[in-house]
Symmetry: D3
């Protein structure tokens, strides 16, 4: 589907040449390329706006890299479930790959993307996703009853903030990816699907 010559665009907006980018952004791109072997298209697409790029990834890292009562796999579950509800091509493919790797489970991402209510997850994780989906789709209805339900599943107030904030951040991310027609890199499709 892709070749060196006709590689589909990472975004419908222009992608600045890497060597024209501000030094901090260029460094981040090179670091992620070094680590992953390729530059995920979200980095290229958002480089169109350096200040927004910086804020986006600072926010992302604050939520996804912090110490939390949620495992990194659980955080990716939230991303995949809510991004699927928002029909976000880039986010489901890219974060589905990350989820498979974090959870060391080749099936979990597809299950959560299609219908998380039928996925092989714990009851606590199911409650986590129910709340994340309510924040994603009907945040105006969130009430103290939801907090009590979450507490009953053992989530701390900080955990609940994390779930809400990840769901909210990807509400932003999903919209930007859909508007920019952000394309997932081919590499993501197979990541985490094969036994090591």
């Amino acid at each position: 589907m892709t070749s060196a010559n006709t590689k589909p665009a990472a975004s419908r907006f222009p992608i600045p040449p890497i060597d024209t980018l501000p030094e901090d952004i260029r460094s981040r791109l090179l670091a992620v390329q070094e680590k992953s072997g390729f530059i995920p298209n979200v980095f290229l697409a958002l480089a169109y706006r350096p200040d927004e790029f910086r804020a986006f990834f600072a926010y992302h890292d604050a939520l996804m890299e912090r110490d939390s009562g949620l495992s990194k796999a659980e955080r990716e579950m939230i991303v995949v479930a809510t991004s699927s509800a928002n029909q976000c091509h880039y986010c489901v493919i890219a974060h589905g790959a990350i989820l498979r790797i974090r959870a060391k489970n080749a099936e979990i991402a597809d299950q959560i993307a299609i219908n998380y209510r039928k996925a092989d997850i714990t009851r606590r994780q199911r409650a986590m996703l129910d709340f994340a989906m309510k924040v994603s789709q009907l945040a105006h209805l969130v009430s103290e009853a939801d907090f009590a339900e979450m507490a009953a599943h053992g989530f701390s107030e900080g955990d609940i903030w994390d779930i809400a904030a990840i769901s909210a951040f990807f509400a932003l991310s999903n919209r930007m990816a859909n508007v920019t027609a952000m394309r997932p890199n081919d590499e993501f499709y197979l990541m985490g699907r094969l036994p090591k």
Copy 2:
């Protein structure tokens, strides 16, 4: 409705005492208090998480303060219209106040919050809000036909990015405000309603 003793909480999550906050955040709070005469509750509510606070306001400022083909009043129109669709108490009240001031128009915020299709705005602004609402509510349906429609109203590609990014950012913001039960400060209700 409020008194020194029983002032309703800015957020259902804890608000750290200002003097315990990191220096950069404390400074920003004092600066906004100096400028506005009070600290808008969004600053207090998000101070619960300093890293997210920094990313949030960096993102906000990147969108709302940058040079743009959209006036500052137009950007606030986007905030008010999409926040109303998301039933976000804090955002409609606080940004409604800012919109009245930016637009020097005491009626415009209420009109846009209730039904922007009937508001006293230009056809170009109406198209801007139609697109912002599509990004806010149905981003998965955004297509090149929308870009063509926007171009026909004279919006540049950069303008379209601005509209989408503001709508997407407040998708995040509205969800955080709803989950935290963020309370608009009393000061906002009357701002911009009285002739100078």
Copy 3:
């Protein structure tokens, strides 16, 4: 936004000159002008059809002026909440003003219009608005379970009828206001917002 010469129309349908109206309607217009200092546009817009005008205001008064277990402020809360759900420009602005005055509360109307679930109201008033909204948006699902819930909050059968009937009447009113592009008078925007 308005001047003597270019005052925006009260309705997209013709407004009959006041002196051509039937005597009873002309008298009502003059009486309301005497009392309020201006003629709310709903009186002008509906004068297009005298028989419907008479029935409309007879119905309105039967519901809003009668002795009831609901205070007049509570009845206006129902109007504002359901009219906001129906995105009715005229009704939210005009009845928001009346609500502020009846409740002697400058903030309550905006709170209820945006998300009544977060408004500074009692639990009983919240139950009242939950029921009113169900009648407004999903009346086919109303069942005896709803009546039991309302009774548990202390509402009599007559009170429940009042809530339902006000919600139903403004279902009519909101639709007429939206179709006629009924414009709220400028006077409403600031009414009840300033301390006496």
Copy 4:
């Protein structure tokens, strides 16, 4: 299903004994019984509140009995289509009967209740029902483009008001019938179904 002893209630609210009703209401009930051979339950259900009864039927008659560019059958089509969308038991059964009689067509009411887009009606009537349904379900989206479309089908401004007002009035009526669990009289089911 019914017997003299256990006849199901016309409404879940109390029905006042006819001889206790105000004279004007009692007369109307007797007149309709004289004419139809039975008292349609809407008259009994609404007699619970005499002032609202009077306003309701005054409004009804103003719309349904006036001279109009719409035939009486067409007006009943609007009632049946919008009442079906609102799942109003009483209104679909009772006005379905009236529609069959007015249109002298035994099939038309069922067709319009189920899916008016497939009914045996003219293109003009189809446009009439499309507009009536928009007023009924999405009045906040009605715009000048709808008026232009209706004018193109030959509807005058007065006709458009009639369509909107009937749709709006039955928005009220459907909600009252659903909340009161208003029961259609057995007589309606077969009316107009048999060739004369």
Copy 5:
């Protein structure tokens, strides 16, 4: 509305002449005509595709003719309720007729088509229709809690399968009828409405 010469089409797709049909299909058509006095249009419309015709009626009969904990009238209730939700002209009219006959009740089909929650049915039948409607409209939300609720109403696992399978089969049938603009035969409208 119909005459020998201009009888409206049974389907917007071509209807093969009966004598050109495969023998087994021709036999079925003649058998149903013998039994009912007319050929219901679904037999003509689907004869366009003999293999699909065979599978469709084999499936239909497997569900509607089998021994079941559900009476035949109850099975028709499921068809009418879900077909009405799907606005399927043919299915509501034709199966409404069959329901009236099976239930020996002239009112039940109209009641269930309009709002089954207000129909004269038992609490068990109401639970049956609630489940059938969830399968019809929101099958992705069906969970073990629904099975427990159904068991509490005395439904066996086999009964629950029957309800689900009938609802699912008419999800197919309703869509084919809507796409083919399948027209109910005139005969259905009055069937089962008159006392024997």
Copy 6:
């Protein structure tokens, strides 16, 4: 996630032992096992009801194996797109695998499942899926305008029937899979993802 001992159930309903099944069904199961190397769970789940099993697969084969203006890959696209809209775990995973194989494309199934509007497909295929989705979700709105649009993309009447019938058949299939909690076999997840 699975082991020989604790293999998750193919369905929440009982699966009959294969050697107790009617001969024709047992033969089909063995034939598919011979061909695929495993028995897809849909065969086991539906064997609970032999007559429905026979009708289901007869219908399936009539649509998916027939000569058609649609390629087999295109037919699977319809299955994946509509099954994803219905959040059907089994159908998206199993038919996603078949689509990858039929289309010889490792990415296409995930793209279509998430948001077919952004998938790497032709404009004709996009029109095909738009129509299939309308049949799947809003069949009551299908009209001659849709047929004209499809004809403009070169689809014959027979092709349009095929698209509608596949969408309708999987409306049935998706509901049965969701109600039975039908589990996709592990084998499907990786099929067609690796270059040969």
